[in-house]
């Protein structure tokens, strides 16, 4: 019973020789990419490899990083959330809408105490996440379509609240976290680091985190094991929306303004960060560690391209190519790991 079937389970001979490499390709490839890019830019530009620039890079990836934490949960469940940037924008706009603005800002807003404004902005993003969750788990809309609709809804909320205007003021706490520093370290980096750390702890050390991996690894098997799959998926959608909400509030403070279409580029950036980092689009493989590497790759790339004075239009193309390469590695890594069938003869 055992001997023959076990042989049948082994993958192709070429891969058998290096199982260690095969199983870790998902983690090694992004890390190698990061090292390569750092070395490349360090050689190409003397201003790149400096402590100041490191702080720059970290600051540039902080907002994306907070968003990417929630997205990591979603992608680990083999779902997608296209509404992260839109919800972030909505949360930022709601926050500004509920804060007393300068007389020059022509918005019919409702000033509230700072704490209430923050709470309502977070609650608003959680509500949008809950609508995503409801559409996906109760009505059965695929996440791709459901969150595409939410992308529009979030944009609509922003449009309605600011009506083409730009708001500047946010509550003092958010202004500090978004734009202030604790000693030499900008608060936004600290918040991003704490969010990433929390995400990692939840995914790695809690029961819920295990459910996320197992639901992503084999949804049907999770269901047949008595896991409430719908509750898990609903929860990750809300987590993603709350992370987006936090990112949006800090982002508004960081950029110094709240307006429509402010976060548009962050959708692609956050998805890229998760996927470039090596978290499987098919679910169940990867994690916050991967997302951190992915964030660094994107951050170094964006920042480094500025240092070497490349045509800014070419930058967009290069980012697209890097994302494509990461997708190829992602799918290839999946293919390397799957040929151990769940149902060998036996």
């Amino acid at each position: 019973m055992t001997g023959r079937a076990e042989n049948a389970v082994r993958p192709a001979p070429a891969l058998r020789r290096a199982p260690w490499l095969r199983n870790r390709l998902r983690n090694i490839a992004p890390f190698a990419t990061l090292l390569f890019l750092v070395m490349l830019f360090a050689i190409a530009s003397p201003s790149f490899a400096s402590l100041d620039n490191l702080a720059n890079i970290l600051q540039q990836i902080s907002v994306t990083g907070i968003m990417a934490v929630g997205l990591t949960f979603v992608i680990l469940c083999a779902e997608i959330d296209l509404s992260v940037a839109s919800i972030a924008n909505a949360a930022g706009v709601i926050l500004a809408f509920l804060t007393a603005q300068d007389a020059s800002v022509n918005i019919a807003n409702i000033p509230l105490p700072g704490g209430a404004a923050i709470a309502l902005a977070i609650a608003g993003s959680a509500l949008l996440g809950a609508v995503n969750a409801f559409g996906m788990t109760w009505i059965g809309i695929p996440s791709f379509i459901m969150t595409l609709a939410m992308l529009q809804i979030g944009a609509g909320i922003c449009a309605l609240l600011v009506r083409g205007q730009i708001a500047y003021a946010v509550p003092k706490l958010i202004a500090t976290l978004g734009n202030g520093s604790l000693g030499p370290v900008p608060w936004i980096i600290i918040v991003a680091a704490i969010t990433l750390l929390l995400g990692h702890i939840v995914l790695t050390y809690t029961r819920f985190g295990r459910y996320v991996y197992m639901v992503g690894g084999n949804r049907e098997a999770a269901e047949y094991s008595g896991v409430n799959v719908r509750a898990v998926i609903a929860t990750v959608m809300i987590i993603s929306a709350v992370c987006s909400g936090l990112a949006g509030m800090l982002g508004v403070a960081h950029f110094g303004s709240a307006q429509q279409d402010e976060f548009d580029s962050y959708l692609l950036d956050s998805i890229s960060a998760v996927v470039v980092g090596g978290t499987s689009l098919f679910g169940g493989q990867g994690g916050i560690g991967n997302t951190i590497i992915g964030l660094c790759v994107l951050g170094v790339l964006n920042n480094g391209l500025d240092h070497v004075n490349i045509d800014s239009f070419l930058k967009i193309l290069i980012r697209g190519l890097i994302l494509l390469a990461a997708l190829i590695v992602n799918v290839y890594a999946q293919r390397l790991k799957t040929p151990m069938p769940g149902d060998g003869a036996g």
Binding site: Y205, N218, A221, Y224, S225, G226, M340, G342, A345, G346
Partner: protein, 499 residues
């Protein structure tokens, strides 16, 4: 037999998969204007033979002649072009399209501009259907028709594509008696026109009612062929099961004495459970320390019933009671909390092949051993205990599950319910595709759980599985319970006759 009159003739056909012989030394002939029945248990070789005839298996030994010419089909398309049609149990109609579009699928008439000529298409379809005695508006969406009519439309489609010999795979399994009567009337009409059919079925009454000749397969061999006028159901069952000799150890020829435990408390009870066309009016009782076998052919509803009892597909009607209390199982998590456990028939749908063994075992008990924080050491300890108890190989709890053999994976699927024993364990096809050793392991584990006082339901399409495990057997047919065997001796032939 008049060999020269055969439309289709196979000589010395054999087929092996890897080292396993699926078919050996088979002669088979189908005459023009004949309905030829094909019976045998699962794995007897019927479907292998049909796939050779239909061009699905291109690699085989032996010869095939069609209308006096040697043929060797290299693809299903080639077989179809030469006049071999096939109607599968799962119909291959396109539900969104109209009757006319389905009948002329892939052969739509075009007008001069290269667009579909709808008027001509409808006219052709109407004439073709009328010639078969089918009175259907060709514009009707096919999904609006009852299943029996859909099947006849599919036969009409196969005929329209030029088939002279049509293989029907379990054509009656989903039909009601009046629908069967209409199907048979159509087949008889087509027979007089010289068309030939191969009629594969588990329903021996249907075989005897419609076929001219029947061929019996067992263990990859053709064991008998006879005109149906000369035989009866008992004759067929006897030949399907085999009579002694080499199969004696494998099959349960002898009678199995069933002993139910009328004194034990009822742990699971259903009343009037129903879900769509999958199953209706299911009232069952499972007692503590008892194994209830649910037997039926493929599609009889017993596997769907097991899924419904675990909350995977919530039933629409009826009631489920556990320990006498009514429960509503909205999802599998609710079923698990109510004390139910389930092992599905397919390994792929119960295992996480990239995750280590211990995570596969602990997934169903995580909420019992940890509240917020995981306790991986505890999980590994539990896994080690089950590995030792069930003799799972390899023994290391951190090995990815995908590296285990099939039999060992099956044990892991059972092990995840053994840490905290459920009240009722539902097993769907627990020994399908297993070798003898692995089957014995499963029987041993199930016996042990029964001794521990668990109520166990074994749903299967394999008589041996039910007979080797059950204390009481309920037989299902087309979604309904037809009879129950309890406190009596039962043999495989009686079980087959009842299904």
């Amino acid at each position: 037999m008049m060999r020269e009159a055969a439309l289709l003739e196979l000589r010395d056909v054999a087929k092996t998969f890897g080292g396993v012989t699926a078919l050996r030394d088979v002669d088979f002939s189908l005459k023009a204007g004949e309905i030829h029945g094909l019976v045998g248990e699962n794995g007897a070789g019927k479907s292998t033979l049909m796939k050779i005839i239909a061009g699905v298996h291109a690699e085989y030994q032996g010869r095939m002649r069609l209308a006096g010419r040697d043929v060797r089909f290299r693809s299903a398309r080639e077989a179809r072009d030469q006049g071999i049609g096939m109607v599968h149990q799962e119909l291959s109609i396109v539900p969104e399209l109209s009757v006319a579009e389905n009948v002329l699928l892939g052969m739509q008439p075009l007008n001069r501009l290269g667009f579909v000529d709808w008027a001509r298409m409808r006219r052709i379809a109407r004439e073709h259907l009328a010639s078969l005695g089918l009175d259907v508006d060709p514009r009707t969406p096919i999904s609006a028709l009852p299943l029996g009519m859909q099947q006849m439309i599919e036969i009409a489609r196969v005929l329209f594509s030029g088939a002279r010999a049509i293989i029907l795979d379990e054509p009656t399994s989903a039909l009601s008696p009046p629908e069967i009567a209409r199907l048979f009337a159509l087949l008889r009409k087509l027979r007089t026109e010289g068309l030939s059919f191969i009629f594969i079925s588990h329903f021996l009454d249907d075989i005897l009612a419609i076929c001219d000749v029947v061929t019996v397969f067992r263990n990859g061999r053709k064991v008998a062929e006879a005109p149906t006028a000369a035989i009866d159901k008992a004759w067929l069952i006897e030949r399907m099961i085999g009579s002694g000799h080499q199969e004696l150890e494998e099959s349960y020829l002898g009678e199995i004495a069933l002993q139910s435990r009328a004194d034990a408390p009822i742990v699971l009870e259903t009343a009037g459970l129903g879900l769509g066309t999958l199953f209706q009016d299911i009232s069952l009782r499972v007692r503590a320390g008892e194994v209830l076998g649910l037997y039926g052919f493929m599609g009889a509803g017993q596997l769907d019933l097991a899924r419904a009892l675990f909350g995977k597909i919530p039933p629409e009607r009826g009631e489920i009671r556990i320990d006498g209390h009514p429960v509503r199982l909205r999802n599998t998590a609710a079923a698990r909390r109510a004390g139910l456990a389930f092992v599905p028939e397919s390994r792929r749908s119960m295992l996480f092949s990239l995750e280590p063994l211990y995570k596969n075992i602990s997934i169903s008990i995580l909420d019992r051993i940890s509240s917020l924080w995981l306790r991986p050491q505890r999980e590994r300890d539990i896994a080690r205990r089950h590995i030792a108890e069930l003799q799972i190989r390899p023994q290391h709890p951190d090995r990815p599950l995908g590296t285990l053999s099939g039999g060992n994976q099956q044990k892991v699927a059972l092990a995840k319910w053994l840490t905290f024993l459920p009240k009722v364990l539902l097993l769907s096809e627990p020994t399908r595709g297993m070798d003898v050793g692995a089957k014995e392991d499963v029987v041993r584990i199930v016996r042990g759980l029964r001794a521990a006082g668990i109520g166990i339901v074994v749903a299967s399409t394999e008589p041996e599985t039910v007979l080797s495990l059950a204390d009481r057997i309920v037989v299902m047919r087309k979604g309904r319970i037809t009879c129950e065997f309890a406190n009596e001796a039962v043999s495989k032939d009686r079980l087959l006759a009842a299904a």
